[in-house]
């Protein structure tokens, strides 16, 4: 064990690995600054670049980025009061208050140091998890692995924030989407509608970038104006270091909470940091300063959000069930290299495991160091309006998702899923279970058939491991049910600690025509899947039918709730009191949101993306970029002409140079095939 660890460290002395780690770290830091990208965006954008690389180099790049995304996202939260990612909004509470008092440097010192420590402790946790879980993992056979995949999807659905029914529906739809393509057992085509292109299944990068990346861009592209405030870093570097040293227990506690939140599927960095904050408040004797600049409010959460990413990797690598969205993509990447996470990675690829650990730890230190050195430049970057970034991001994301299969069809799917992802985001459906379901669909089916062919009937259910997993599967559901009943009876007032984040405005179109439409889409999709799976052979049919029946039940329930709510709204008397109540709850909440301004803007952005893709299909990528970027910048982002010209020029040159530096293909248009 120690040998492999040292061998992995020695291999990191290889300059190509070190360079990749450095590039990944820098890329991760930059992407951490861009609002809405976070770890998911970082991995999804970098993943296509790794397609031509060897596994160690690819892992160094991706882990380098993943480890530091949450180090730099603090900068804008502290300096501008506008968090770079949802998890940094916790740091904002105390960090921004400190910055307003002229102590931004103190807050940033605390944050960077805690992020570094969180990353290192996370890496240590990952290391310790390997020998601890090894005997357990090696005792797993296909029934346990099957249960684990089921557990992965359902825990992600249950533990994600928001409605459990919505979570389960999203997870099941992800499973169905993952089954598009060739069936793993009978090699027949499923849900392909006779298309050869769908026969390979949907590309993971396209799905992830669509559901998360494009959806995020569309919902934020209306931000034309950057923050104009003058930023002063102020003093307090030394004070920050001293305070950080006195609060070392909070650093460790935060990191441990982060690891735990990471291990649980569906509980990501955001929930983890709120848990750490709640814990820091709960254990503090003097609570007066929280929210007004208490160092403990920065140290714990910052340490937690970095260790979450390491915690995510524990179930991903050891059991093959992703703990979060970025690690779901990492899992997809490992599978394309033929590295099967779970028992086989421990026996055959232990060196890669340790490489990941070392990369994570080194990148954490490197990231914090780079942040200290370049904090002034980073602060300037945060002032760029999102709409201007959006133009380049769209171009980069489309290029990225083209790399996996080299087909324009992937890009169309990506935009369609982008619209769907935006709908999910705005109507309060969690998207993590969707992607985790997508990744686990094929393993789930394969393990099920292995189990089914190796065991008689339901004998496998009696294996102790399976029973334990069944218990883990059912307990959270009973738990959720008890909580639901207590909430209805209002007997839950005294129910202990609540450290969930406050009700956010992430889902502005909840309880509107939009969410009714979303539930309708779910219902129709499951019904269509059920009907079309009737034509498959019995073996290929079983799992899709089970999943879509379950999906029909859950989405039917959702649809029922939505329709009932609408009917109740329509009856005038009840409607009035409800509206009043809603006004009381939140002054600005629209009772019935039709075409809100944001919705219009988001759909306009999607139209722009479609236009860009149509141009690409017609004239090729380079020409499309030279038309799309200036047009988007001038019309949508309302940038100055000079900015638009320089922006387009730089991007064009970069794209010309890119294919010779990296194994990247630019999409060719219909025109190029003629010439």
């Amino acid at each position: 064990m120690l040998d492999s660890a040292m061998a992995a460290l020695a291999s990191l002395a290889d300059p190509s690995l070190l360079i990749m780690l450095l590039i990944g770290t820098v890329a991760g830091l930059i992407m951490g600054l861009i609002p809405g990208l976070g770890g998911t965006g970082a991995v999804a954008i970098l993943l296509p670049i790794t397609f031509g690389m060897e596994p160690p180099q690819a892992l160094a790049l991706l882990i380098g980025a993943l480890a530091v995304v949450h180090t730099s996202d603090t900068v804008s939260a502290v300096l501008l009061g506008a968090p770079g990612s949802a998890s940094a909004s916790v740091t904002m509470l105390d960090g921004y208050s400190m910055a307003k008092k002229g102590q931004a440097a103190r807050a940033l010192t605390l944050a960077f140091l805690s992020s570094m420590a969180g990353g290192i402790i996370g890496a240590v946790g990952l290391t310790l998890a390997i020998p601890l879980a090894r005997p357990l993992v090696l005792s797993f056979a296909s029934p346990e692995l099957f249960m684990l995949t089921v557990l992965g999807v359902s825990l992600a659905a249950v533990l994600s924030r928001g409605n459990i029914i919505k979570g389960v529906s999203a997870g099941l739809l992800g499973l169905i989407l993952g089954m598009v393509g060739t069936s793993p057992t009978t090699a027949e085509e499923r849900f392909t509608f006779g298309s050869l292109f769908l026969g390979d299944g949907l590309s993971l990068v396209a799905v992830a970038l669509g559901i998360f990346g494009l959806a995020e861009i569309a919902s934020r592209a209306s931000q034309r104006r950057g923050q104009k405030q003058i930023i002063t870093l102020g003093g307090g570097w030394g004070q920050g270091i001293r305070e950080w040293l006195t609060h070392w227990t909070h650093v460790i506690r935060g990191a441990l909470i982060g690891i735990w939140a990471g291990v649980l599927p569906g509980v990501g960095a955001t929930a983890g940091t709120w848990m750490a904050y709640g814990q820091a408040v709960a254990t503090a004797k003097d609570k007066r300063q929280f929210g007004k600049g208490d160092p403990r409010g920065i140290v714990g959460p910052e340490s937690a959000n970095n260790s979450v990413e390491a915690g995510d990797l524990i179930p991903t690598l050891l059991f093959g069930i992703p703990g979060g969205v970025p690690s779901a993509m990492l899992l997809g990447m490992l599978l394309t290299y033929g590295i099967q996470p779970g028992p086989s990675i421990i026996t055959e690829h232990l060196d890669l495991m340790y490489l990941i650990v070392w990369s994570f730890a080194i990148a954490s230190v490197l990231g914090a160091l780079l942040c200290f050195l370049s904090v002034k430049q980073l602060a300037k970057l945060t002032k760029v309006p999102f709409a201007i970034l959006a133009a380049g991001l769209v171009a980069v994301m489309l290029l990225g998702s083209f790399q996996e299969g080299g087909q324009l069809g992937d890009l169309w799917i990506m935009i369609i899923l982008g619209v769907f992802g935006w709908l999910l985001k705005s109507t309060g459906f969690p998207r993590a279970p969707f992607l985790i379901g997508f990744v686990l669909a094929i393993p789930l089916e394969r393990y099920y058939f292995l189990t089914d062919s190796l065991y008689e009937g339901f004998d496998w259910m009696a294996r102790p491991g399976v029973l334990v997993f069944l218990a883990i599967l059912i307990l959270p559901m009973i738990w959720a049910f008890i909580k639901f009943i207590r909430t209805r009876r209002k007997t839950n007032l005294d129910d202990g600690h609540r450290d969930e984040q406050p009700e956010d405005d992430e889902a502005p179109l909840k309880n509107s025509t939009w969410s009714l439409t979303a539930s309708g889409i779910f219902f129709v999709a499951f019904a269509a899947a059920l009907i079309s799976s009737a034509s498959f052979s019995p073996e290929a049919r079983l799992v899709p039918q089970l999943v879509s029946t379950g999906g029909l039940i859950f989405s039917g329930f959702l649809l029922f709730i939505e329709i009932r709510r609408r009917l109740r709204d329509r009856t005038p008397k009840a409607g009035e009191t409800l509206a009043e109540e809603a006004d009381g709850i939140r002054g600005t909440q629209p009772a019935k949101a039709g075409w809100t301004l944001d919705a219009k803007f988001a759909l306009k952005t999607f139209l722009w993306m479609t236009g860009f893709l149509a141009l690409t299909a017609a004239f090729g990528y380079l020409i499309a970029v030279t038309i799309f970027i200036p047009a988007f910048l001038l019309i949508v982002a309302r940038a100055r002409l000079k900015v638009a010209i320089i922006y387009t020029g730089v991007l064009y040159v970069a794209l010309l140079a890119l294919p010779s530096l990296l194994p990247i293909d630019l999409p060719q248009g219909w025109l190029n095939t003629l010439v």
Binding site: L93, W274, G278, V281, A282, K285, D286, K287, R288, F290, G291, T487, K490, T491, N492, L493, D494, D495, G496, H497, R498, D499, E500, Q501, P502, G584, I585, R586
Partner: protein, 126 residues
């Protein structure tokens, strides 16, 4: 000086409010209401107005405050410490041992963490 009432729209919250008003009159202190219920169900405007009128007559002030902290127990204690509150008034209800063990108890946390006297009243009297 101030009397802090942890209010929620439930019998125990009501009881705490009634007792808190009595306590404010008794101590000749201002009244501070912290809403700890899930959701945002505040006292309705009319009731608040009546209460305010009643308190102003006695020369006392009424304030309503909330905290950024998500946990109600922490929120109550933070505000109590911040305002230098004289006494916290909370309402309780019977909780089984197992219930407290599994779900925890906000009231217990307030009782243990508070840095000022706490007056606890029961809603389900004999």
């Amino acid at each position: 000086m101030t009397v802090l009432v942890a209010y929620a729209s439930a019998p125990e919250g009501r009881e705490a409010l009634t007792e808190g008003i009595k306590e404010a009159h008794r101590r000749k202190s201002d009244l501070l209401i912290v809403n700890i219920g899930r959701g945002h169900h505040d006292l309705d405007a009319q009731e608040l107005q009546e209460l305010e009128g009643q308190l102003t007559e006695a020369g006392l002030a009424l304030t309503i405050e909330s905290s950024i902290l998500a946990d109600p127990g922490d929120a109550v204690i933070q505000i109590a410490q911040d305002r230098g509150v004289e006494v916290i008034v909370i309402g309780l209800r019977h909780r089984s041992m197992v219930g407290k063990l599994i779900l925890g108890s906000t009231v217990q946390r307030i009782l243990l963490d508070a840095t000022c006297p706490v007056l606890a009243v029961r809603a389900d009297k004999l």
